[in-house]
């Protein structure tokens, strides 16, 4: 899958991350890295700590221990705003769209960090504010075309079926033109056709824009197909890390995850 695309240096290196919620150890001493332009999957049973891992990467959770090296800079923990500024975008396991807004507006929000106009200019909708709004609208329309959701652009997202909502959420993340995209179970609850579409979008994003992707997914077929490297978590611990083939052959993984859940 990865022909034609050059996997680069490590851009994100997580070292000895531990995260606790009171007595619950969500993550224990986890280390792994993400290379530029790769598709990195995180798998593991429910409650293994996968979502928590993404939350640590973009600063929603602050780990008690560990070191996060992002583009050569060490961070004790990440800050959501700084992470967004640095080009980390994500989608959520339980869709976190803005329900009362249209598809177009939801995706427009993804561009907010690129907007320079202030609220006074916005209020007057004058000159630069108007130009900027329309410029960003163009960019957003490209994303809408890419995701093939032109027909619903003016629909409030709350009225859309689940599969389309997931797609819109991907659109909102893409609107930020991220360098790293964190996807938390982007295909959960989808039918085969929707999954295929989503796979295609993810691969296209990776291929066309060189976006690095960190992906949590339960469908082993999908994971093995599209990812370059896989890290496996179980009960907050890392039990394997490597190419899909190596991970599939790992006895711990078979015991903990593949054997039980599938």
């Amino acid at each position: 899958m990865s022909e034609g695309r050059q996997i680069g240096e490590v851009i994100l290196d997580l070292k000895n991350i531990s995260l606790r919620f009171g007595g619950v150890k969500a993550l224990t001493d986890i280390s792994f890295d993400v290379r530029e332009h790769e598709i990195r999957a995180i798998i593991g049973p429910n409650g293994a700590g996968k979502s928590s891992m993404l939350n640590v990467i973009n600063g929603v959770y602050r780990p008690q221990e560990g070191d996060i090296v992002f583009r050569g800079q060490h961070h004790r923990d990440m800050d959501t705003y700084e992470a967004a500024k640095a080009g980390i975008a994500r989608t959520f396991q339980n869709i976190a769209l803005f329900k009362g807004m249209t598809v177009l507006d939801n995706i427009m929000t993804g561009r907010n960090l690129k907007m320079k106009s202030n609220f006074l200019l916005d209020a007057l909708y004058w000159g630069p504010a108007q130009r900027e709004e329309i410029e960003h609208r163009k960019k957003v329309e490209e994303i809408i075309d890419f995701l093939e959701i032109q027909h619903i652009r003016k629909t409030p997202v709350g009225r859309l079926p689940y599969g389309l909502q997931k797609r819109v959420e991907l659109g909102r993340a893409l609107a930020a033109e991220p360098s790293i995209l964190l996807l938390d179970e982007p295909m959960a609850g989808m039918n085969v056709e929707e999954k295929q579409d989503m796979c295609r979008f993810i691969l296209d994003v990776n291929d066309q824009f060189g976006t690095t992707i960190v992906l949590i997914e339960h469908d082993m077929g999908v994971v093995m197909d599209i990812s370059d490297r896989v890290v496996v978590l179980d009960y907050g611990k890392k039990i394997a890390d490597g190419t899909p083939d190596a991970v599939r052959a790992n006895q711990d993984v078979i015991d903990a995850y593949l054997g039980v859940a599938h």
Binding site: F98, M115, D122, A123, A176
Partner: protein, 363 residues
């Protein structure tokens, strides 16, 4: 005139991003403005409209619309519940009064803007708790704002220029040598201010600042992750909302009542405006006007109805029954809207339009 958008194709995003992309909406708004700015003045000159229709209906309707719009920005768009609307209006009114009083040659519009800015500043301070608390607890905190501000204005004599009764008399509205002292001229003055501010609000809610408010309202964690800063966004909503309420309060004092005391801005008024937002439509600019019209007109309508019943049936209903019925109708309507149509009259209007758009086909 049919409400259709078929055949109206947008060739550019600029066209599609217009304030009213559908032609019929554009015509509608032009008609309304024509009636408000030309039709009503003509009717007034021709003697069809009494002063009463301005002082008791049109002017308060516009002022309440502005206050409801202010609250709607905060509650409807940014999702922060507030019971302190009247307090922010009071700040606007009393601040404008003091600017006019204490600064020689202060232009009235500047005083209103400064009054609005004072309200905005107070809004920011009392909006700070919203960074930590939400929903019911935030409502309780804004309730404290309501009582504290009114108490302050009553206790600190300086605000009312040490008037013994605590009542202030608003200065004349004068601009470029013209005095707005008739009911009709005050109406035109208020109309201009309200239209301008409604336009600004409409622009805000369809651009980045408005999207930041709605994002925080709908899913604050996701909003933060894509780079909106919750603190800045919420405080901005408090500031803009309070500015609108502050200007509405100034108009309330200067163009509607003429004399006010701090108690005139009590919790009752806050609730009235909240009801306007609920009935008119949470998160809708147009809804703020619907809600205000409804609440201003309902008591008048009920009064007429009761008089009619009394005279036609020859019975004498106990005095004060109209206000009791009014309260009951309000209560019932609010429960209705909260349960059945949380987006209020504005949503009903929109559904009506959607139906009309597809008419005569059911889908």
């Amino acid at each position: 005139m049919l409400y259709r958008e078929a055949g109206q194709f947008k060739a550019t995003y600029a066209e599609d991003s217009q304030i009213f992309p559908i032609r019929q909406d554009k015509i509608g708004i032009v008609l309304i403005l024509a009636v408000a700015f030309v039709g009503i003045p003509l009717m007034s000159v021709a003697g069809f409209l009494s002063d009463y229709s301005f002082t008791a209906i049109l002017t308060p309707f516009l002022i309440f619309s502005l206050a409801a719009l202010g609250l709607n920005i905060l509650t409807g768009y940014a999702g922060q519940l507030s019971l302190g609307t009247a307090a922010f209006m009071a700040v606007g009114a009393f601040a404008s009064y003091n600017f006019m009083l204490r600064i020689e040659g202060m232009p009235i519009l500047v005083a209103f803007i400064l009054g609005g800015l004072c309200a905005a500043a107070v809004g920011i301070v009392f909006g700070l708790p919203s960074l930590r608390i939400r929903g019911f607890y935030l409502a309780a905190a804004t309730l404290a704002t309501q009582f504290f501000i009114v108490w302050c204005l009553t206790k600190v004599g300086w605000f009312t220029n040490y008037s013994s009764s605590g009542v202030i008399t608003a200065q004349k509205i004068e601009m470029l040598g013209y005095t707005f002292d008739t009911a009709f001229s005050k109406y035109l003055f208020v109309l201009s201010v309200v239209c301008a501010m409604a336009l600004l609000a409409k622009n805000m809610v369809r651009t980045n600042i408005g999207r930041s408010w709605m994002a925080i309202r709908d899913m604050d964690m996701a909003a933060e992750v894509i780079g909106f800063r919750p603190m800045r966004t919420k405080l901005m909503a408090f500031a803009v909302s309070s500015f609108y309420c502050g200007v509405a309060g100034a108009l309330f004092a200067y163009a509607y009542l003429g004399t006010v005391e701090p108690e005139g801005f009590n919790l009752d008024l806050s609730f009235r405006i909240l009801f306007m937002v609920i009935i008119g439509g949470v998160g809708s600019i147009l809804g703020s006007f619907f809600g205000s019209a409804f609440i201003v007109l309902l008591p008048i309508f009920l009064n007429v109805l009761i008089h009619f019943l009394e005279s036609s049936a020859g019975i004498n209903l106990p005095s004060g029954i109209s206000s009791s019925i009014e309260l009951m109708v309000f209560g019932a309507l609010i429960i209705f809207f909260l349960i059945v149509e949380p987006h209020g009259l504005a949503r009903l209007w929109q559904i009506g339009k959607e139906k009309l758009r597809l008419w005569p086909f059911p889908h």
